[in-house]
């Protein structure tokens, strides 16, 4: 699995994908930071993440759409599937590689925190910031797992990307349809973390969604062996 993580992270940064993802994310984060935090005179680092999680809904597909679709199209899937690696470790490897990119992004976004601390004249809102970062990783995990699942269904990257964005956007507005669909909406599950609460129910739901989609991906990959 370590070999796959290493290679995948390397591939993210050998191709423009990693830079485009981090660059566009930070560019838009800076925009939000200026618009909603800086100009309103707020020193809350966590409130910035209400916007950046929405951003994630549209940009996560960049990381996940090629994961299986591109490998299938190029035929390199053969190399992975005939190597002595289990499908589980292949899927987990790709999942963790995408997560590494997210964590790198998060580290970069700490600069906003530094700026706020500078203006506030000291370290502020530590607990809120930590819970927000944890929440951000959890929501990213569920998004990545879902994106990988969609990518495993097709060999067309564009279709995988568009389908991921569309479904994640729909999930955002699901609670408007019915209150009970709240648990299928990562972005709504996230709302408590910036308040400094690591809510058990929300965390468990996000982790469950992640595991569910990872399992579905593994099942799809395993089933495809029989269909090829």
């Amino acid at each position: 699995m370590w070999a796959i993580i290493k290679k995948e992270v390397k591939s993210y940064f050998l191709s423009p994908v990693g830079y485009v993802f981090i660059g566009s994310f930070l560019l838009m984060s800076s925009f939000f930071f200026y618009m909603y935090t800086y100009t309103s005179g707020s020193v809350e680092y966590s409130s910035l993440f209400y916007y950046t999680t929405e951003l994630l809904t549209f940009t996560i597909a960049l990381l996940t759409m090629g994961a299986f679709a591109a490998e299938r199209k190029n035929g390199t899937e053969t190399l992975l599937l005939t190597s002595p690696r289990s499908i589980t470790s292949i899927v987990l490897g790709k999942f963790l590689a995408a997560l590494v990119v997210i964590i790198i992004t998060e580290v970069f976004s700490l600069m906003y925190y530094a700026i706020l601390c500078y203006f506030a004249g000291g370290i502020t809102g530590v607990s809120e910031s930590i819970s927000t970062l944890i929440g951000f990783i959890l929501i990213a995990m569920s998004y990545i797992a879902f994106g990988l699942f969609i990518s495993s269904l097709t060999e067309n990257q564009i279709i995988a990307g568009v389908a991921t964005i569309v479904v994640l956007t729909i999930s955002w507005f699901l609670p408007n349809l019915s209150e009970s669909l709240y648990i299928l909406s990562p972005i709504n599950l996230f709302q408590k973390y910036p308040e400094g609460i690591i809510a058990a129910r929300e965390s468990i739901t996000l982790i469950t969604l992640t595991i569910m989609f990872l399992l579905l991906t593994i099942v799809v990959m395993q089933r495809r062996k029989n269909l090829k």
């Binding site: 070999a3 035929g75 390199t76 190399l79 005939t82 190597s83 002595p84 062996k225 029989n226």
Partner: protein, 359 residues
């Protein structure tokens, strides 16, 4: 070493591989032959565990490929026909990644990668991007990916396609030398290549195993008889009588008349007797000049074409049989339906009667 048992693969109603069984021993170099679409690649994909067969199973060093996948796959180095590679990596990085995937220990990895790079002779491009490599280099990088980690079994799908003649001979001798301590399966449509490298040939056609034997045996089987080809100048037309007077000759046939006045005959000897000396002596006596005298050889090519043509005839027969079977089944189905209908009607009537009784 490799055991393929009753493997069948179907795509919908199309049967790609039909009940194939064979065994390959350690250290053998086996050639897979067959026309396009015969099922060579599918068979290889099943052996490597990339595709799951509908029925039957494959064992490698005693490990079932579908049940003990990791252990079985550790024994295999596979070079797919399409030579898939990661374009964003360099050959060195790619081979290193393949070594990692195959769990080559970290300490040995560097030396192993270098060994393989030397073996396939890609030192000069090892740090270029794979994206920019020509077909021949890609081919060799892909082969290197299969070789790394020194797996016991090498499965090479058309390893010499797209190489220039010098590279072809290089790769061929590489494969031959690998055959000393590896089991190699390679597919090819170049028959001379197979008869040069391989100790055993498996011919498949339309998903069925047609023949499995050494190239020499296949050629012999087809040659069958002890036949000579002679080209002579025979101004007096005595050849027929001369030959028929000889003891060990069964028959003579004119093959063609050549414009320079000579004629080519094929002479069929009795049994295994070598009659070349007799022919030379007798012909000289009768004033027949021999321009050429040779054994008629049948190449693997002839054997291959013959075997596949034979199978076609058989197939057409079986097709008719299949048609018959289908018709019979249709009739059966019809009867069954009728029977069911009759039963239903009976049931209905019974129910009606019961209802009538209730009333």
């Amino acid at each position: 070493m490799i055991k393929v048992e009753n493997v069948t693969k179907k795509y919908g109603s199309h049967t790609a591989i039909d009940n194939i069984s064979f065994e390959i021993k350690e250290g053998e170099i086996v050639g897979f032959l067959g026309p396009n679409g015969a099922g060579k690649t599918t068979t290889m994909s099943i052996i490597t565990g990339y595709i799951e067969p509908n029925s039957g199973h494959v064992e490698i060093s005693g490990y079932n490929v579908s049940k003990k996948a990791r252990k079985a796959k550790r024994e295999i180095g596979y070079m797919p026909e399409t030579t898939p590679l990661y374009n964003e990596l360099t050959p060195k990085e790619f081979i290193n990644y393949m070594a990692e995937l195959k769990s080559v220990p970290r300490k040995e990895r560097k030396a192993e990668v270098e060994r393989v790079i030397k073996a396939v002779n890609i030192d000069d491009v090892q740090n270029k991007l794979i994206r920019n490599l020509s077909r021949g280099y890609r081919q060799r990088v892909s082969l290197a990916g299969a070789l790394v980690g020194n797996p016991k079994v090498l499965i090479l799908d058309e390893p010499t396609v797209g190489l220039d003649p010098k590279q072809v001979t290089q790769i061929r001798s590489l494969i031959k030398s690998l055959g000393k301590d590896h089991t190699v399966i390679l597919s090819s449509h170049i028959l001379s290549e197979v008869s040069q490298i391989c100790e055993k040939v498996i011919i498949i056609n339309k998903g069925k195993l047609v023949a499995i034997d050494t190239p020499e045996n296949l050629e012999k089987k087809e040659a069958g008889e002890n036949t000579l080809l002679v080209t002579v100048e025979d101004p007096e037309g005595k050849i027929n009588d001369t030959v028929k007077a000889m003891a060990n000759v069964r028959d003579i046939k004119l093959v063609k008349e050549i414009p320079d006045g000579t004629k080519q005959y094929s002479i069929f000897a009795r049994g295994d007797k070598d009659i070349r000396k007799d022919i030379f002596a007798n012909f000289a006596k009768c004033g027949i000049t021999i321009f050429e005298l040779k054994k008629a050889e049948i190449s693997l090519e002839d054997a291959f074409i013959d075997l596949i043509d034979n199978q076609k005839e058989e197939k057409s027969k079986t097709k008719e049989e299949i048609k018959k079977e289908k018709q019979e089944q249709k009739e059966k189905n019809k009867k069954d339906k009728e029977n069911k209908k009759a039963e239903k009607n009976k049931e209905k009537e019974n129910k009606k009667k019961e209802k009538g009784g209730d009333k």
